[in-house]
Symmetry: C2
Subunit: 386 residues, 2 copies
Amino acid sequence: MKYRLMTPGPTPVPEETLLELARPVFLHRSPAFRSLLAEVTAGLQEVFRTRQPVYTLACSGTGGMEAAIASTLHAGAKAICLICGRWGERWRNICRAMGVEVVSVTVPYGQAVAPEQLALALKQHPDAVAVCATLCETSTGVKNDIAAFGKLVAATPAVFLVDAISGLGCMECHTDDWHIDVCVTGSQKALMVPPGLAFVSVSDKGWQRIDSNPGLRAFYFDLRKYRDSFKTGDSPFTPALSLVRGLRASLSRITAEGMPAIWARYARIAAACRAGLRAMHLELFAAVPAESLSVAVVPEGISGSVLLDRLEKQHGIRLAGGQDSLKGKIIRIAHMGHLDAFDVLTVLSGLELVLLEMGHDLEPGAGVAAAQRVLAEVVAGQPAEV
Amino acid sequence: MKYRLMTPGPTPVPEETLLELARPVFLHRSPAFRSLLAEVTAGLQEVFRTRQPVYTLACSGTGGMEAAIASTLHAGAKAICLICGRWGERWRNICRAMGVEVVSVTVPYGQAVAPEQLALALKQHPDAVAVCATLCETSTGVKNDIAAFGKLVAATPAVFLVDAISGLGCMECHTDDWHIDVCVTGSQKALMVPPGLAFVSVSDKGWQRIDSNPGLRAFYFDLRKYRDSFKTGDSPFTPALSLVRGLRASLSRITAEGMPAIWARYARIAAACRAGLRAMHLELFAAVPAESLSVAVVPEGISGSVLLDRLEKQHGIRLAGGQDSLKGKIIRIAHMGHLDAFDVLTVLSGLELVLLEMGHDLEPGAGVAAAQRVLAEVVAGQPAEV
């Protein structure tokens, strides 16, 4: 059976990237590694939309988030965490583990945090040192208005930390223009590399905060070490060089296409997928959906886990379900990584077959046809309905 | 030109391990990943000589060291650091970054820390919460007497943290029998996997300390999270799964040979290399040499960096030089990773050719012949002189 990985991380990796990983290792304290690091850093800057260096850490995305917290904050400092799902909660949990006092701004799962909520929190907590937000909340499929948040935070002394792990590289995220002071992403989502790398950029305001942090307690996650080593083109610690080589291959693909074209392509894929889901009488879960994944509510009377199991066992299509309190209640379909509109059409086809089998009321072909109509509209030069 | 990586990390990786890295990624929240993790954990336990689980972290070896410090210590606690080179200094630097008070027990580069020094420090500092030591000090090639240290620490309330990154898997290191409370290693040395993974085991005494740590300030490096996730066979954070798959392949190779056979093989390689270096009139740098690498002093009047450059450019052999104050003064030859006695014979051959060219006084063939005699002695059933 042909296998299709359509989970929102890890995502499918291009073949040429996988082959890079199989190349023999070499010494990282060498001109060859410095040249590799310079090349991927330039590519990452284009993806991040930043003039600042983007540092490559050997760790998961959570490690990158911890580097942001550990470098800018200290025990007893106050941070505002904007929480609309599991990954917003991750910010809060890291802060608490580091002894940071957390002001939680929450909305129910499926909703986005409103900029007005942040404005109020900033007013009530002028002593907040940082604001932590999530570009795409992968657990619910929600997109937050990072641009609006950034404008609000920029007018205060606080630094703006953004988890852009799930989304940066396929949906718009303008690190510099949106006033993101520490932007974090990981390798295994839109960047189309296997898991194991995190990427972090820091603004001038971010560095001012880090350099004046009175209680920085970190070593591996002390971003100053990455800045210092970067002066000679080096990595402060042994880099995961096979993955960095893979990254170079995936970044070549990304920079050849160009970010604006990539954003438009994934927006089209997302629009087609959602039209298909609606036509199959499935409710969308996210009030403000991200371009990087679509999340549908599992219909009443159908078991979400049986649905996902059948989809994988009968059709080789692997989607993600809900986590924690959303377990069995939602299905999540990735629109990031090495996949295209035809892959999403395939998901809709498989989903239709399984839903029909499970007694869900739908017209065979309705989902794929609706998706196809969105793809055709774009061909005809009309804007995609997202 | 045929290229030979003979640096003490990263080390050569077997072809079948590299090919594992090129396989498509899959979802880590799955029975397939849990089965992979269970398999590599069992293999790591055999290498570590421990009944405890060995946790796999996505980070460099330094990250594993930070996990050991961050989990067992807190700001204001006292740690005794046994320092005989750059990696002992790394323990000290991580401790200081975390606000830990450090008692440094130092010896000059090239010497091993004496157990008597540790005994005295433990007597002078009965309030020490941890003792940090290095199995093989890669920067100088020195082996420390971890078994003797462990016996001393076991008689106190302190926990014993060992950086076994450079050595574990090719030289003896008995985690349980030597009373190591937190043992750390990395993927890119004796375990023959590209860099990007660290491995950490914790003893019962280690867990008692961690569970009663009054000021644990970590999230990604909080070892309790790894213990908790391991109960369901999971990784707490997204694992670097391509590298974990590669690890499975390398561990198959290791467990098929068996640790006693591996220790004997690398001891023989080390003995042959050292006999060869001596026969080429090179002085050995380490007073107590580790089996995982040999370190020779660059002869008076010869530039160490020119020597290494010529070896790489003319013969494709990449050795490591000295770091920091030892830059240009020593050369370091790995005896770990996917290499054998014939690879070391090759290094000696190339080294002879370059040293002759640079005017060093030696008899052509003396080095390789001396090494070969050691190899032949072993064939004849006589013990190797290490």
